[in-house]
Symmetry: C2
């Protein structure tokens, strides 16, 4: 009770995965909002649109024709940020003007032939196929590349230019900033405490319960103690798992279940197809495959932008860009709200 | 010529102020955009709006009445993220559930009595008054607080809920993440190279010229070599200056000049009132006032979101959130574009 009182007031919380702090100002939700409102997501996407370059059988910008796929569908990004053959800018530079070679590949993966479904609305076995494909990609691209980033931008609000359910995979010859930081933090924790950071964290959260959104025998989804986005969640296995391709068949089934449950809660929160960016972090690959990565634990981050309603998002600007992340409700409040939402999707519910 | 060729291709650049890398994929500007478009900024803000809580003589949400001000105007934020009296959550916690006390104040400062002007359109002497007030705030709040963050969110796209020209000042008893990182990086550089990082950087850029947007005898505005936002700039004095209150009268006049020049270029880029978040970073204050801060150099960061036009912004999502910042045009291309824009504001230009 004492601790709850204290957390009604502003305070700082530590993010052990990034070695940073977040400012929690719970009392700030009371302020009125007269700022920008977003367009609510389009709720009537046609199942098939002859002009949509992601639909089966359609022609893309570069003239290639999509197969008539009936499950997942993978192709090279037509405008890749990473290509396999960029020249090396060379070394021996001034310390303030340092550059490095960047090589990689960018792929797009459709989840389903229909444009009018999302992971929350797909059948469990269809979601398992997506997970199997993710595992395959980590396995295949991981032989060459040091880091394989699987991520999904969902919704126009998250810069996603196509409503068809899909994710992206960017593989690179370098360890990007975020996983590099996470690697450092997890390694330091492991060296000090003798147990992987996220394994210990999952155990604690499963006991405390107050930040748990959904859980299954193998998986846990929580609003992390250090969440910055209002309804941010962290999805992680209870067992020590390094990479998504290490998951057993049973664990993949369990993952499909918990993903559907979590994403249904998200959609039910404001009764819209909930926008977010999400992505997987697991132990690095390529040259790291032969190294000890016991400090790593596989996990997914979900970063949804909405704060108050389907049209009012949290702006990470000004103070956040220049100084530090700040949030307007506590992670415990967010978790409770999500936890108490119905398990059935608002679109399939009978009224 | 060789180096230019190399930089036509993707590569990584190092940000020495944050110890991170940015992925530069110049070739990506060619991709078509079918995603979300923003509303262009409102171009017809009335000079005075009886319902706007920032206008002179109006009543704010908490019942307080603004003075009939005719220059700058300062008041306490009615919904502060930081308050001076929050309780201490206590120490002795599990390493994964760490919290700390956060105390501070949040103020709002109007730049001008009129709602229909911006810093770019204000008279030079009016801008000098804003700078003097900033200096006063650093001086006053800096006696108590460790960090005083002055920042401006401009435009609805940047979460700014009021069109009246204003900035915010959040002072805290802790050093936030971003300045803490910058402090660490500047200190390490100083120890290794014996000269402040940003002083050496300004000299180099003034010679190289290719990233300079505007310069005066005392000031320099560049698109930094490591810029992440498309038209990001760094504004800094040529002389070694720790904090904004250390600026001479002449340097404040010079700052007003270069700010007006830079912001006019920004407005001219897409012929709209250009949205951005900006803020000042100088040496820490409070208990740091008696310490050696020679590694610090005063500077302002401008982070504007637009990429292609008045309505298409760069989304920092997915890969950026989960892995690493990525940009679609080179800093040199952005600097050249800004540099070549007219010096006269599009709103005051004769046709
Ligand atoms: O200016 P406001 O309305 O207080 O709030 C705005 O700036 C704050 C500080 O950058 C952010 O935390 C908010 O998300 C943003 O909407
Ligand atoms: O999905 P797209 O259209 O390639 O692009 C989107 O995701 C990318 C990776 O997160 C971002 O860099 C872009 O800013 C965003 O618009």
């Amino acid at each position: 009770a004492l601790i709850e009182n204290v957390f009604d007031h502003q305070h700082l919380r530590y993010n052990p995965l990034r070695d940073t702090w977040v400012l929690v100002s719970a009392h700030r939700m009371k302020r009125p909002w007269a700022g920008q409102v977003e367009k609510p997501p389009e709720e009537h996407t046609p199942r098939y649109d002859p002009r949509n370059p992601l639909c089966p059988g359609n022609t893309r910008a570069n003239g290639e024709v999509n197969s008539d796929y009936d499950s997942t569908f993978l192709f090279e990004n037509d405008f890749p940020a990473l290509q396999p053959d960029a020249p090396d800018p060379g070394s021996d530079q001034h310390p303030l003007f340092q550059s490095k070679v960047a090589r990689g590949v960018c792929k797009v993966m459709c989840f389903h032939p229909w444009s009018d479904v999302t992971l929350s609305l797909m059948k469990k076995q269809e979601v398992v196929k997506v997970i199997d494909k993710w595992a395959e990609l980590i396995e295949e691209l991981g032989t060459t590349y040091l880091w394989v980033q699987i991520f999904e931008n969902k919704g126009a609000m998250m810069g996603c230019s196509n409503p068809h359910p899909h994710c992206q995979v960017w593989a690179s010859n370098f360890l990007p900033n975020e996983p590099a930081l996470s690697d450092r933090c997890q390694r330091a924790y492991y060296q000090k405490h003798g147990e992987p950071l996220l394994l210990q964290y999952a155990k604690q959260e499963a006991e405390k319960k107050e930040r748990v959104v959904v859980e299954t025998s193998d998986w846990l989804a929580v609003v992390p103690y250090w969440a910055t986005w209002p309804y941010q969640t962290l999805l992680l296995p209870r067992r020590h798992v390094l990479r998504i391709n290490d998951l057993t068949t049973e664990e993949r089934e369990g993952l499909a279940d918990i993903m559907k449950q979590l994403l249904t809660k998200y959609d039910n929160l404001f009764e819209i197809s909930f926008p977010y960016s999400m992505g997987w972090h697991g132990a690095p690959t390529g040259p790291h495959l032969n190294k000890d990565n016991s400090h790593w634990q596989l996990h997914a981050h979900y970063y949804p932008p909405l704060l108050r309603s389907a049209t009012v998002k949290k702006f990470m600007v000004g103070y956040e860009m220049l100084a530090q992340d700040q949030r307007d409700l506590t992670p415990e409040q967010a978790a409770e709200k999500l936890r108490n939402l119905p398990e059935e999707h608002y679109k399939t519910r009978e009224n």
